[in-house]
Amino acid sequence: MNIEQKVLMAKRGDQAAFTELILEKKSSLYRIAYSYTRNREDAFDVVSDAVYKAYISLHKLNEPAQFYTWLIRILINCALNLRKANGRLVLTDKPLSQETDAREDQDALIDLYQAIDALGEPEKTIIILKYLEDMTIEQVAAVMNSPVGTIKTRLNRALKELRLELKEAII
């Protein structure tokens, strides 16, 4: 069964179909949320909030094929709202060894997040979606509801800033 069919079933009140759609992307949803919160519990809260809002407003989704684009947009808004509510991000209070397995991954992740944190919005979101979630420019534009040209301009700006930030590090 494809995404459109599952979304159609979910729109008709099929709770299991909706849950399945979310669980299929749970890793992506968690990683994106974590990129903003840098804290496991807060990332759970963001995902939970986004899933709740998506279920309640699913009837407003006109194009079932765009379900994940729409869901990620909701997720990012929830993450930004939480950040607004909490003020500046708090660095994780748990050792990263709980989050990744390999030592080099932990180091790379710390460098990466420090560099991304230095970016403002919407550049941060663009970098996360384009380079970490591996989306195309068009998909990023769809999530952010912005023209492709605008995304390209902001991406270039973000890359310049990132290069300065990371210098010869992981990127």
Binding site: V47, V51, Y52, I171
Partner: protein, 304 residues
């Protein structure tokens, strides 16, 4: 950030473990939302009957004859599941299997499609998608869980409609899917109504606003007899361009042959660039042509 440069960052990011608790977080959120939605519906239901009773007393006398006539025009005496004036596309029906498209009737401005299973009319329409088409104006009906068409797919003749030009079946290599294209003489407004018990789809067309007059450049294959060969070409183009966002479609030309169109462009240069892009995938080994077409023009025959 160059490709090789991003690998380290991407690996680190992908190595971020998704905690086992995520399943529980998601399920709890869905449960919470489901309960909240149910609660909200219950509140509405307690208020709606009062409002509905008031409305009914005002509207019944005036509206009933009109409503009755409208219902009589639907296939069988099914009840309306949804009725939508089409802007782009509509999804409807339910996931079923083994249905057959029954007789299709076309009157002046209305197309009615019925469904059967065995010898009986079905109660719920199969999963369907209706999509408005341009260059030329038309409507594509895609059906899932439908294994055959009435009378082997012979479409009804159109003799009395000023708006509906023709209708034809489009081959699909999926034996549980069917596609039917309806072509219109000009811009139209389309209303799609899904009915149940018995199941049917009613497509009503009315003259539409004058659409854009600009000519477009279509990137397409040559014309073919209806058969597997053209179905394979469609599959190859879909794979090269990334289905389902590929925009690839199959159409009939002015000699009744079929071809696959990969895209429509405002200028010849853009169409040529698109062909180059397709070639660069290395997946398409057949010729692609450029055809200039107006919004109401029927595509022309291009010899293989």
């Amino acid at each position: 950030m160059k490709e090789h440069q991003s690998t380290g960052a991407q690996n680190a990011y992908n190595a971020l473990k998704c905690p086992a608790e995520m399943d529980m977080v998601v399920r709890r959120a869905v449960d919470r939302a489901h309960k909240a939605k149910k609660q909200s519906l219950l509140s509405k239901r307690t208020l709606l009957p009062v409002a509905a009773a008031l409305l009914a007393s005002v509207l019944t006398l005036n509206a009933m004859p009109e409503f009755g006539r409208a219902m009589e025009q639907l296939p069988g005496i099914g009840w309306v599941v949804r009725a939508v004036r089409l802007e782009n596309y509509l999804l409807g029906g339910a996931i079923t299997d083994g249905q057959e498209v029954g007789p299709i009737t076309i009157s002046r401005n209305t197309i009615e499609i019925t469904f059967t299973q065995g010898q009986s009319a079905t109660q719920t329409a199969p999963w369907f998608k209706t999509t408005k088409q341009d260059y030329p104006h038309g409507l594509l009906l895609e059906l899932q869980g439908v294994r055959s068409l009435f009378a082997g797919g012979v479409m009804p003749e159109i003799t009395s409609s000023p708006l509906i030009r023709n209708t034809y079946r489009i081959i699909t290599l999926d034996d549980s899917a069917q596609r039917i294209m309806f072509t219109f003489n000009g811009p139209v407004e389309v209303t799609v109504t899904e009915v149940a018990s018995p199941a049917g789809i009613r497509i009503k067309v009315a003259p539409g606003q004058t659409a854009a007059t600009a000519r477009r450049y279509a990137v397409r294959t040559s014309s073919h007899d209806v058969g597997e060969q053209i179905g394979i070409k469609e599959g190859v183009l879909n794979a090269a361009l990334g289905w389902p966002e590929s925009g690839v479609r199959m159409l009939q030309d002015n000699q009744g042959k079929h071809f696959v169109e990969a895209g429509l462009f405002a200028t010849r240069e853009l169409a040529e660039a698109f062909i180059a892009k397709i070639r660069s995938t290395g997946q398409v080994d057949f010729a692609l042509q450029i055809e200039q077409r107006g919004p109401s023009d029927i595509p022309v025959f291009i010899a293989p």
